[in-house]
Structure formats: structure tokens, C-alpha cells
Symmetry: C2
Subunit: 354 residues, 2 copies
């Protein structure tokens, strides 16, 4: 894998949200290689639900003229800006759903750069000054050093890729809610995010219970390491009063049995949405939270220190995501599978443009 | 003040929720003086919004045959069960919105007895076994030792009374959310609870900002020690991005500008409802919480250690609640004022039955 020629990359681009499954190979200029940026030659890239929401226009009009999605990238460092010190050319690295932040605000300085008010996202985003950033269904991406994570040797690239958004999105609320050996973790919904919540919950030493609408994924959940599986039939909450130290909600339905799930949280604990129902959350009363002094919250990816710790744990605990590989040219098929909910449990696109 | 004669108390009772302003003096038998219980001769009793909700049937049908409300009691210990060691006859004590718990569960043992799944409330409640407990618009109440708090000499009875529910209800979420010197605290709604959130926020060393629908209570808020006052007109949130370490919501409207208020919370912080809108909370999206990784929660009174610390701080910092005194026979007038929202900011009924 080589550095880009004349600053140009090639990627699988969508040019019209109305035809969002029509990926075409496009050549485009990368953003400048600023002093704190790194160029990564893409080896593989995970497919995230966000990719579908963005290219279809479901999350609103685009910021960039066309969109090359992909924000779960693993590849090799092929260029570094002159201020970069943490990696060198040739290193294997990962980049997730954020490639830039201001670096100056309170949050960039206190391990909350994932909450920087002026983030640069993994695609469909502009750098300050206006340069477009495109994503990882491509030959190359550029990112600020802070968002480029060395991948431990023990973690294969295709296994690391979807950890960088999907994994980190659940790992951050797990550790921010104090999950450790013996913690009781609930996971609602077993999709791409939910499967990572099980894997990393278990890797952190927690006892994980999966809540799902039916028993369809029970065998998978148990194979991933979950201790228990609960189909959310009426009355499901009865045997789980105040059992959990945190519940990570990975479902994106807006008709979840939230009041019932809240009774499953121990006093003072939190129900964290990482799934993003497009409609609002309904039927919440403060009374339903007061009974055990619990809270409903949400979370946005994770910070660098969490990403590094996650990768370290993945290496040590041999965390194995359940992934399906496809060549990058099958991006449309991969997006279709996200739309159908048929992915088990994350798709990784492998490089075929070089 | 004497011990009850023949185990009988007298109180201002409501006998029919349809005529909930028709208080009549009634004589009734107290629950037994169990070994861990204390009899308190009532000196004064605060009037809480819950009193109105309960006697009017707004919170559902009654548990007891008639209701003597009042769960912000200060008085003298006149009898103690044989296992009681923390107070003696003659001590001045307070009792709040909880008078009993199981004593055996995990929560009773980890300073969360206010979240015991089998609590005995301040009135309209039964002890295990079925004995009725009546409240503090009366000559005497009985409570478990755990819920009887010595009142520091520096705090007058009429000032301590409404701290025991109103004060503790906001003090607990303040301290559980880490409020200390220099913390930034938002308080939504300046009523009985909100005024205590300001007073105790300030006493803990925080900078307090009050959010209210109009400027009507601005002067009061500043006099209570608030640093700033914000009328929630459209766009009000603009100057307060991520300013607060916690927001205590004391308003009971279900049409609060919650999304806007959430943007005023710092990353990872909490919006705590202690006001209880009868309708649900509307228009919440997980997206509105994800932006700063914040949460919406609630809280239920507080535990003994928090009550004792609150009273200690009230003594040390000379916390002065804004109260109006009335003789107990004016209970109907006091309830009417709660209903009208005209109380500034808490009414205390003083003993007139003995």
C-alpha cells in the first residue's frame, strides 16, 4: 500500500441520496496533509448503520458534494504530518467515526474529545476552512493524530475494524458507568452494537444479560458469552428487579418497554441509549425514574484513551467479533443487509481498489 | 408536650377526597410502639405538595380509612422503643416523608433506605401487618429510629421542618451528583423545592442559576443566593452551553424546554427531575442526550446520612428557608395556597391541638 499520488484517493461514492445503493468508483482530492494529520492506506472498513442513514439522506442533506462512507477503517500509515509522533509510516492503525476536533476546548483536554463541539466526523463532513473529508470505502483517508489508534498485533485488521465505531460506541458507556469484574450488565437488542456490548461486557468481567423481542437470537447471545437471555414478553421484568448496574440499549425502536426495563436497574444506575430511534422516546415519566433514582442517558462514540484500552482488552481477552467479509465493491449489498437487519453481526469490506 | 394517652393521637383529618379541604379533628390509635420506634410529640409540620396530591385523590385511592397528612415534622421525643439508642426522651427531632423500611434489604444496608422496596411513607400508608400510619398535622407520630433525625440546636424547629422532605428531596441529588465548592448548578422552577435547591446549592458552595418561565421571581432567587436568573424565553439556552454540572428540575410542568435545557449540561452530567409532572415527559430523543452524553434522571427523597449532613450544613451555613407560619387549624388554607401556587416558599403549620 502506497501513499496517494498527487494527493488523490479513489473511493466507492454515492452521488445522489435517491440512488443511495448506486456506488461508483470516484477519484477525489484528499484534504491537505496538515502537520497533525496522518494518511492511512485503507486495508478494510466496517459497515455501520450510520452509513445507511447518511447516504439515504435519512439524517438530512449532505455536507459534501458526494459521499464516500466508511468510518471503521484499518490500514497502514503511509504519510505523517511533521508534528506527528505517536505512529510512523508502516504502522498498522485504525480510525473510527471521528477524524478531527479543535484540540483547544475543555473537552478536547479532558478525555472528552468525542464531545468536542466542533468535531470532524468520519465522512460527509468538512474541516474548518471547508476541505471535504471522505470515508473509508476508499483507498486512503486522512485523520488527525489524536484519532489514529495503533492496532495491537494480536488483533487482525478485519476484527479490529468494526470495533473502532461499533465497539467503541458501547465500550465507552460500559467503562464510564464503572463496569468491571462482577458487574451486572443488561444489553437491549442484539445487532452490531449489541453484539459488541455483550463481547466487551464479558471481556470486562461482567455478567451480561441480553433483552430481545424474541428468542430468535438466544443461541447467538449465549455463544457470545451472555449469561442470560430474556425475551421481552409481557411481565419479563418481574424476575429482574434492580438486577443491573447499567443497561446499554442498542435497539433503535421507539416502542421499547422502557418503564419495565427501568425497574431492572439498580438504584442510581443508568439506562444508556446508543441506538438512536428516529422518533422520540415515548411514555417516559419522572415517576418511573424516581422509584429507584435511575436515569436515562445517551453517549457518543468514545475518546482516544477508551479506544486504546478497548483495543488492549480485545488483544488480551481475545475478543472475537462476529463478522462477515465482503469485497468493497459489494458495498451496496452490505448496506442492503444493514437495511434488512440481516447482518450477523457486522460486515467488513476488504480493499479491492488497489 | 407529653406522651400519648392510651396510645391515642389527635390530628386534622380528611375523610373524603371529594371534600379534601374539610379537615376535622379526629382521635385515632397510633401504630404500636415497636422496639425500634419512637413517638414524637409534634411541634410543627411543613406543608408539601404531596399533601395536596394525596388528600385530593390525585395520586390514587387511599390506603388508610382517613388521612392525616404532614411529613415534615419537628417535635420532641416522648417515648422510645426498647432498642432505640440514638435519641432519648426530650430530644428535639425531625421526621420526613418516610417513617419505615424493611431494614434487611441491600438498599437499607447501603445508605439507600429511601429506595427500600417496602417503605412506610409519612402518611396514607400501612406498616407490615396492617397498622395504619398517620402524619404530622397531629399531636403525635411514630417512626422507626432510622428515620428520626436529631435537629441541631442552631436550627429553629419551624426552619428545620420543611427541610425534612422539601430540603432533603433536592439535597440528595445535589450531593449524589457531586456538588461542591465551585460546582455550577441549574435549578428549574422556583417553588418550595426550587427554593431549597438554591439555598442548599449555595450552602454547598455552588454557583446556582435559576431557570423560570418569567422574570417574576428573579428578585427572590437572587436574594436566596442564586448567581443568575434566566427566563426561559426562546433562545435562552444560547449563552449557557454545557455550563452546568447538574440541573435539578423542580418544575412539574410536562412542557418544559427539555432539549434546550439539556444543552446547558456539561458532558456526562445529569438533569434530575424532582418535580413530578402528572403527564409524561414529552419530546425526548436519544439524540438530544447523545450530543453531550448527558442523562435525564429522577430521585426519591434522601437517606439518613444525607438528612443528617443536610441539617449539619443548615446549622453551619445558617440556611434560612423562606417560610410562612400558620396554626395547624388553617391546614385547608395552607393546602389551598399550594394548589394556587401562591406559597412563598413553604408553609409551616404550628401545633394548636395541645
Amino acid at each position: 500500500m502506497a501513499a496517494p499520488t498527487n494527493n488523490m484517493a479513489r473511493g466507492y461514492a454515492v452521488t445522489d441520496p435517491k440512488n443511495y445503493l448506486d456506488f461508483q468508483v470516484k477519484e477525489y482530492e484528499l484534504e491537505p496533509l496538515a502537520d497533525d494529520r496522518i494518511t492511512v492506506a485503507v486495508e478494510c472498513c466496517g459497515v455501520c448503520g450510520s452509513d445507511h442513514h447518511t447516504i439515504s439522506g435519512g439524517w438530512g442533506p449532505w455536507e459534501t458534494k458526494f459521499v464516500v462512507t466508511g468510518h471503521e477503517v484499518v490500514g497502514k500509515v503511509v504519510e505523517i504530518g511533521k508534528d506527528v509522533t505517536s505512529v510512523k509510516v508502516g504502522d498498522r492503525v485504525g480510525v473510527g467515526a471521528q477524524v478531527g476536533s479543535c484540540g483547544d476546548c475543555k473537552w478536547c483536554k479532558n478525555d472528552n474529545e468525542n464531545y468536542c463541539p466542533t468535531p470532524v466526523h468520519g465522512y460527509n463532513t468538512l474541516w474548518p476552512g471547508g476541505a471535504e473529508h471522505q470515508g473509508g470505502y476508499s483507498t486512503h483517508i486522512r485523520a488527525q493524530e489524536l484519532f489514529v489508534f495503533p492496532i495491537p498485533d494480536a488483533v487482525p485488521s478485519v476484527e479490529a475494524a468494526s470495533m473502532l465505531c461499533g465497539g467503541l460506541t458501547v465500550f465507552s458507556p460500559l467503562v464510564r458507568n464503572g463496569v468491571k469484574k462482577g458487574s451486572k450488565v443488561g444489553v437491549v437488542g442484539l445487532g452490531g452494537l449489541g453484539h459488541y456490548a455483550v463481547l466487551f461486557g464479558v471481556a470486562l468481567g461482567a455478567e451480561v444479560t441480553v433483552f430481545s423481542r424474541s428468542d430468535a437470537k438466544k443461541a447467538d447471545a449465549l455463544k457470545m458469552g451472555a449469561k442470560a437471555f430474556v425475551a421481552t414478553d409481557p411481565g419479563f421484568e418481574k424476575g429482574h428487579f434492580r438486577e443491573f448496574d447499567v443497561i446499554i440499549c442498542c435497539a433503535s425502536s421507539s416502542s421499547l418497554p422502557i418503564d419495565e426495563l427501568l425497574t431492572c436497574l439498580d438504584v442510581g444506575c443508568k439506562f444508556v441509549f446508543v441506538g438512536m430511534p428516529e422518533e422520540g422516546i415515548k411514555n417516559i415519566t419522572s415517576q418511573s425514574m424516581a422509584g429507584s433514582g435511575v436515569a436515562l442517558g445517551s453517549s457518543h462514540i468514545g475518546c482516544r484513551t477508551e479506544a486504546l484500552r478497548m483495543l488492549e482488552i480485545a488483544a488480551e481477552q481475545k475478543v472475537k467479533p462476529w463478522i462477515e467479509l465482503m469485497p468493497m465493491k459489494d458495498a451496496a449489498k452490505a448496506i442492503q443487509a444493514v437495511e434488512d437487519g440481516s447482518v450477523r453481526y457486522r460486515t467488513i469490506l476488504t480493499q479491492d481498489l488497489v
